[in-house]
Amino acid sequence: MSNVYVLGTGMIKFGRYPEKTVPELGGEAAVLAMKDAGLNIKDIEFFACGNLFQASMMVGQRIMQQIGQTGIPVVNVSNACATGSTAFREAYMAIASGLYDIALAVGVEQMGKQGLLGGTGGGDPAYSTEGKLGSGLMPAVFGQAGVEHMRKYGTKLEHFAKISVKSHQHATKNPFSQYRNALTLEDVLNARMICYPNTLYMCCPTGDGAAAAVLVSERKLKELAGGRKRPRVAASVLTSDPWTERDLAMPDVSTLTRSAAKKAYEQAGVEPKDLSLTELHDCFATAELIHYENLFLCGEGEAGKFIEEGGGVHPDLGGKAPVNVSGGLLSKGHPLGATGVANICEVVWHLTEDPRAKERQIPNAKVGLAHVIGLGSACTIHILTI
């Protein structure tokens, strides 16, 4: 196994780009990452592309048509919300295995306003169960998960709401974030309820975006880094959903995250207290709270206390154990396929004191964790160290 390093990263601001195509968005991020690495497409030996909504449409190869068709192996990855981070992991494995020295990972998504249930016609809607046998949609899944925490540990609505306040505060310092407006606790609590206990601002928005990373072997790093310190991928873990009791009726978002976290800390040889920053999958405020415990940032049942003590908040704002200083999915946005790579970009920027993290730089950052969970389910955790 070769050590793997992140030599370059690129990301476009998350938002809405209705005038652009998916390969264009992905291509822009790829070019930014290659420039950052000081390389061009001719140097890339392997390319893994993550995209969900066009998963059957060869997005990776279409990106190559935008940025240079060199004939290298391209794989297209789809793994729910963990799509981008799984693509990153494919690139990591391509190098760790010793097969390649330089690999590109891109995560890209264009969600626009597409969707609702458009295009599913054909079946008799009388047999659709949504709303008749409860709800299987994401807001209900993560609503229930939050309510489960309330039942077990007495967690209050305010705890979840504070997470949204914090994320929006963080986002004011991130020019790559889709939303950059600060909110008060009242704003969050008084907003329209989407699915109890998550109000509007406790749900992430949809949008378009792309992020990319260039990964290299240790050998190549010495040749290319030119003295720059680059983060090492100290752990790369992917898990799926093991059998748990209520899983068919109530998707379990915790067990696979916990097993991934244990493996990742072990692989990296670090402990949760060593983390300078964490970017975790806050698709809903309730999800972030649960993942404080799932990632062992605090003890079982202690997430409420963790929040009350300033856990998750940027040290500039008087907090500790900072989580989602990028603004997180709640503010930065969640273009599904791009999310996992964007989380890694954020961690890399802090570890390398990159100007792109300027206003929100975590001082003296040494170890960062990026976590993504896609329902269905897939969980990735990457730990990077410098």
Partner: protein, 177 residues
Amino acid sequence: MGNNSAATAHACVRATSIAPRYTDTEETFVDMAQETQTTDQGPRPIVPFLRLHPKPHLVGKKCRCGAIFVDSRAVACAKCGADGQFTETRLSNHGKVYVFSVVHQSFPGIKTPYISAIVDLPEGATVRANLVDVSPEEAEKDPNKVFGMPVEFTTSVAGKDREGHDVIVFSYRPAKA
């Protein structure tokens, strides 16, 4: 602000990208319509694990390891991996609410707010259904009153299918003492 599309968009995330847990994709309900084809012109259950005769009840698939699956087309057991070892088992009409959420925003035609509940059955199976005869507002105000609430199974007509059959749905309501 413009954050407003958040939840509907999440709905589409679920619909387009996530493996179905229940029968809310076209493919699944096409299958189901075929399975429930009979010459009988009477009411039809919304899902195959709801049985209307002799009295409405749910059935699960039980593996010899003890795991019970509701709404599963599993070839082998997700818990132990044994294949072809399932027997059909009748599930109790009484259970207890484990947790819930209150849905305030949904697709056109679905009345909100409603309580989506996770109900534990004594056999060790868990099902998801609407909780009726409980005020969503009260449930939000005091969730502790809903946790562990003993509930009973009830059925109602959800609508008519394209062939004019009544489609029967199940839900849970507070158990009569």
